[in-house]
Structures are given as structure tokens and as C-alpha cells.
Homo-oligomer: 341 residues x 2
DNA sequence: GTTAGCACTCTAAGTAGTTGAGTGCTAACA
DNA sequence: TGTTAGCACTCAACTACTTAGAGTGCTAAC
């Protein structure tokens, strides 16, 4: 037995109906819902087949059917094909342009959550293989030196270094030149131990400053470990009874609070990106354990200079996939464009 | 009628018992619980009095009593007096010292939530009346200038300025000197429009850079509007049935997510600080509407140079006030000490 | 002032019956 | 052969009713 056109139409009707109501859907409903003009009995036969094929599930005898993960998957795949064909018009600016990146991304998460009525997350872009662009040491206080490190993509990192003895302006200038000459344009991989010890030797008694700066550089470039993730709309979990019981909600909320866990999602999305830049994880497909009863839809955005970030929606499996995909695409395009100017 | 010793002992017994169980407590329980050796009937009489005085409430006829906000208030006030007398020993370091402030505070929130099993918040210190310490303009790219602004307390703010025409090293040096000479040591109030226009005039064709820097300075000093607040333990709300129903939990979680709302708490706490530095808001005493069914305990910590921040615990009214106060004091002291070195 | 006793109240939990949506199966029909 | 009508069956959800028990307020006695 295989899935013919009619079976798919019925499956689609079941899913659509279930997305709306959240209740198991019965044969009579489908019989009226579709324009197939089939009786409920015929639908029942088809539904029995669909269940055998694994696309729908019966929560208990004498209840209607609900879509299985496999059913959702089929539906989403077909839907994505169609969406791909449509040309997305980008009209209206959802986001007011703000000068600070984190404000912008926070706002993006809010907009996403508000538009979709699901929980939303936005990760700050990660700086892969990025290169050092500029280092600046300045005296701030008698024994305090501010090191400013700028990497490609204009990501700025500040570190305050405390020094034992006072440094003359001249020494500071020398150190600045030393560091900039040797380190600029290099990526993390290229800064090796030999280079560092050579630098230290040249810095003489100020080698501790070099150490401090190098450490700060390392931290600035490998930003992975404290990847910023902004979330919004956590309360939307409560809108869907299937997610709102104490245990599940508690887990989900913890996941949202401990951004650490969300970062797995980001990693997965960045690593394994398909052609459209949109990924859909249904139920147990998700890399994050606590979301196994949810669906997660993510998209990758890319600023110039190769910085990539992730935006995503987390909601019940019966989420309005069309709306979510549309919103993600919209935001993705906006973010893509925004910094290309 | 007034509250004598015995009445207070009974009230205390009621509250302690209610804190443990979360169930209304009856006269028989108290009769056994205390070492007063009174029969349940006597307790009943006293309880009727306590109810009339407004310290306890009967959820419905034939249920035990639960403490009212007024009852909690009395209990907390007495408890605080006692705590004040005890000398708090500070032993064991809860927090590993980390170099970055935000890491430290995030960790602090986590520790607090984990220790108390309530929800915790920690606000980054606010920089009141702080003065400009240092300005540095550097060329990062042909037409991009990085402005680094350091204010008292070593709060650093970076802004990237785009310039139309290329600036010579000499011009940049002049601008640096100009800005530092005129602005260093000033607070926001002291930088007025006259001064700015004078600066612009001196900068000549580079007046737009001066504007950009001044804007960035203003933003760096008045940090109020995007006050950072770190939260942890949101899921703990679910541990207390009285907070865990959908509507209430949803509100609380939103409040925790929209740090904006929590900032009211911070403001209130900073403004109206009592002698011990610990504030307890019971039920409707809280400035944040969504927490009217909770109790909130906050403390103010102070780093050197007058930067103040707030730490707080949000939980059910029947929270273990002693434990919470102890934990807050502990953390407060650690934070107070940490940056005094 | 304290206590024992008792009637009364109200919630929570359990039980039983009812309803209705939905199914699977069978037999008849086009 | 595919479609349909009909029917018996199942099961969750709701309602009504009962019961148990915790707790109270009041009164009378100590």
C-alpha cells in the first residue's frame, strides 16, 4: 500500500484541522471539511490505511486521529516546496533600525514571538574564522591599561589590565606597534605559542601585558562559549495545553532561561543547513531533549564578513508551519540585508 | 484587643507550619506543634482573635487558617531584628572569581536560585552620577573610527563612527586631545549644549565626529534605560502550586523575561533602602503588579565608586524568609567585598 | 481562663450513570 | 471494485451524588 493523492488530501485535511483545534479529528469532520465528497465511512477506511502507514495516530480507541511526527514531516516537506516556488515580497519594515546589535536582536526576537504567538529565539552572530583587525592599548589610570581589540565584523572586546609599575607613553606606543605589527590580520589558529613567546621576549619586562592581551584576543575570537541568545514569548507555551503541564513547561522554560541549551540548536542549525536556509525539526528530530514534544523551526542569517546567526521558533507540533516559515524568511531577509547596507 | 506574647507564639507557629506544608493549618495541629500545652479549643479562641486582628485568614469556613500579608509582615519584621543581632559568618566562597562582570552576576543569580529554590534576579550595577574618565578615538578602517569611552567604575562603551573623508593621524590626535581636555572628569549634567557647540566649532569640519562621540558619552553615562538584569530559577515557580496555575505563571514568566518590568523592582529597592540593606515586599506591597501573589526579598550591593546593584528573590508568600535573608546577606557581602579587593 | 463535647460546614475524593464522538465491521449498492 | 449506510461497541468526559474528614464556633462545665 502506498500514499496516493486522495490519501494525502485526507492527511492534509486532518493536519490542518488539528492545527486549528488541537483536538483529535474524526472521520465525519473530514468528510465535511474536504471537498472530496466522501462519506465518513470511506474516510474511516482511508484513515485506517494512513494509520497503518504511520502518518497518523489514534490516542485511544474511539478517539479521532492526530498526526504523527512522520505525518507532520510529509506535510512540512510538501509545504516547503510550494513556498519555495512563491516569490516572497518584502514589504514594510518590521524592525526599526537601531544602532546597537543587541538591541536589534532583542527586538527581532520580540517581533518574531509577537507575530507567530510561539516562543522565539535569536542568536547573536558567531564569528567563525575571524581575523584580528586592530589592537589598542591606552592608559586609563596610573596602573590600569585598557586593551581594545577589534576583530573582523567590527566586534569589539575590552579588557582592563592592571600593571605593577607605571608605563610611559613611549612604552605604550611601542607595545601598541609591536602588537599591531605582529598580530593584525591573523586568525586564532595562526597565533601560536612560538609567536607569543617571541612577542613576550620583545616586550621585555612588559611581557605580562602581552600575555593579558593575547588572552583577551583569544577570548574575543572564540566567542562560541558565551554565545548570546535572546529569547521572547516564553509565555506562549501556555497557550498550547499539550506543552503547558507543569513538568513539560518547567523543562521548556529552563531551556529558554539557560541559553546554554539553546546553543545546541544554533550549532546544529549552522552545521547542517539545507538549501533554503530553513530547518524544521519535528518532535524527536530536535537536538534538544527538552523539546521533543515541540516543533522547532530555525533559519540562518548571515551578515557580511561571514558572520552567521540563527533565528528560531519553538512551538507545539501542531504549529502553523506556513506562518512560521513566512515570518522566519521575512526576518532572515531583513537581517541579511540590514548590515549589507 | 492587642497582640500579646502568646498570640504571637501561635501566629508564629501557624506561619512556620504553613511555610512547610502550604496547607491551611488547623487548631489541633498548633495545639500539638507548640510547647504551650494548650488544647485545640483554646487555640481556636486565640485564632479567632488573630483573625479579627487581621493577621490570619480563613480561606473558607471549616478550613484552617493561612497568614495574611499583615501576618507575614509582622513575622518578617521580628525575624529581621533577630538576624540583625546575629553576627553573620562569611565562610566558603560561593562564587569563583571570574574576570568578567556579567559572567559573575549571571553565576550569582544561578547560585541564589539553586540555594533557595526560588526564582532569583541580579541587576548589574547602575552608574549614578558617574564621570567621564577617558576618551579614545582610533582609526580602524579607512573610513571607520572607533570611539572608546571609559567612565568611572571602568565601565567601557564602544561606538563605531563612519566618516566621509579620510582622517590623518594628526587630525585624530588633535581630536583626541580636544575631547579629553574638555570632557574628562565631567558628569553628564555638566556637559551642556554650549560646551558641545564650542567643541564642534573647534573641531571645524570634523564636528560630526564630535557629535557622534558626545552622543555615545551620553549613552554610556545614563545606562538606566538598558539596565542589565540576570535571572535564574524561573522554573522554581512551578514548585509552589499557588503560583503555578497557567495565568499566574504566565505573567510571572513574562515579567522575568521582560527584564524591563523587573527594573521597577530595582529602582524601588535602590531608592528606598532601609538600614540593613534588605527589603521585603509581601504580596501587594510589591511595586510590580504581576508579583502581587508573591513575596519579593531584595538587597542592595555596592561596588566601589558608588555603583549600586540589586539582588533579589521572588517566591511564594510562604517562602522560607530566614533562608532567603541569609542567602541574600551572604551574596551581598561577597559582592560588596569582591571589588573592594 | 481553659477545656471537652457536639453540631455544623465545606472541600476533596470517590462512585455511578450518562452522553456523545468516533471507530470497525458488515452487507448492500453502483 | 470502490463506496456507502447502518449498527454495535468503546472510551473519555461530564454530571450528580455520596462519603469522609478536617476544622470550626458555640456552649456548658471545670
Amino acid at each position: 500500500m502506498q500514499l496516493d493523492e486522495r490519501k494525502y488530501t485526507i492527511l492534509q485535511a486532518i493536519i490542518r484541522n488539528y492545527l486549528e483545534t488541537g483536538e483529535p479529528v474524526g472521520s465525519r469532520t473530514i468528510s465535511k471539511y474536504t471537498d472530496l465528497n466522501l462519506s465518513s465511512a470511506t474516510i474511516r477506511n482511508e484513515m485506517a490505511d494512513l494509520e497503518e502507514l504511520g502518518y497518523i495516530i489514534q490516542p485511544h480507541t474511539s478517539a479521532g486521529r492526530i498526526p504523527s511526527d512522520k505525518g507532520y514531516r510529509l506535510y512540512v516537506d510538501k509545504m516547503m516546496e510550494e513556498k519555495e516556488r512563491e516569490v516572497e515580497e518584502m514589504k514594510g519594515v518590521l524592525l526599526e533600525k537601531e544602532d546597537k546589535m543587541d538591541h536589534l536582536l532583542k527586538q527581532a526576537a520580540k517581533v518574531l514571538a509577537a507575530n507567530t504567538e510561539y516562543a522565539a529565539m535569536v542568536s547573536a552572530p558567531q564569528y567563525h574564522r575571524n581575523k584580528l583587525k586592530f589592537i589598542q592599548l591606552s592608559r586609563v589610570d596610573v596602573n590600569q591599561i585598557l586593551a581594545v581589540i577589534v576583530v573582523e565584523g567590527n566586534v569589539i572586546k575590552n579588557t582592563m589590565l592592571t600593571v605593577a609599575e607605571e608605563l610611559s607613553d613611549e612604552t605604550l606606543l611601542k607595545l601598541n606597534i609591536l602588537l599591531n605589527t605582529h598580530l593584525n590580520g591573523l586568525s586564532l589558529d595562526e597565533i601560536n605559542l612560538g609567536m607569543i613567546s617571541a612577542l613576550k621576549q620583545q616586550a621585555g619586562i612588559h611581557s605580562d601585558i602581552v600575555s593579558g592581551v593575547v588572552d583577551a584576543v583569544a577570548e574575543a575570537i572564540k566567542a562560541d562559549e558565551d554565545l548570546e541568545i535572546y529569547t521572547s514569548g516564553t509565555k506562549n507555551f501556555f497557550k498550547y495545553p499539550e506543552l503547558a503541564d507543569h513538568e513539560r513547561a518547567s523543562e521548556l522554560i529552563t531551556t529558554f532561561e539557560e541559553k546554554q541549551l539553546l546553543s545546541e540548536l544554533v550549532q546544529d542549525n549552522l552545521a547542517d543547513e539545507n538549501s533554503t536556509g530553513i530547518q524544521v525539526y519535528i518532535g524527536s528530530e530536535t537536538p534538544v531533549q527538552s523539546m521533543k514534544d515541540c516543533s522547532v523551526v530555525t533559519a540562518t542569517y548571515e551578515l557580511d564578513e561571514g558572520m552567521k546567526g540563527t533565528i528560531g521558533i519553538i512551538g507545539p507540533k501542531r504549529m502553523d508551519y506556513e506562518k512560521v516559515v513566512k515570518n522566519l524568511k521575512l526576518l532572515k531577509n531583513q537581517l541579511d540585508d540590514l548590515y549589507k547596507k
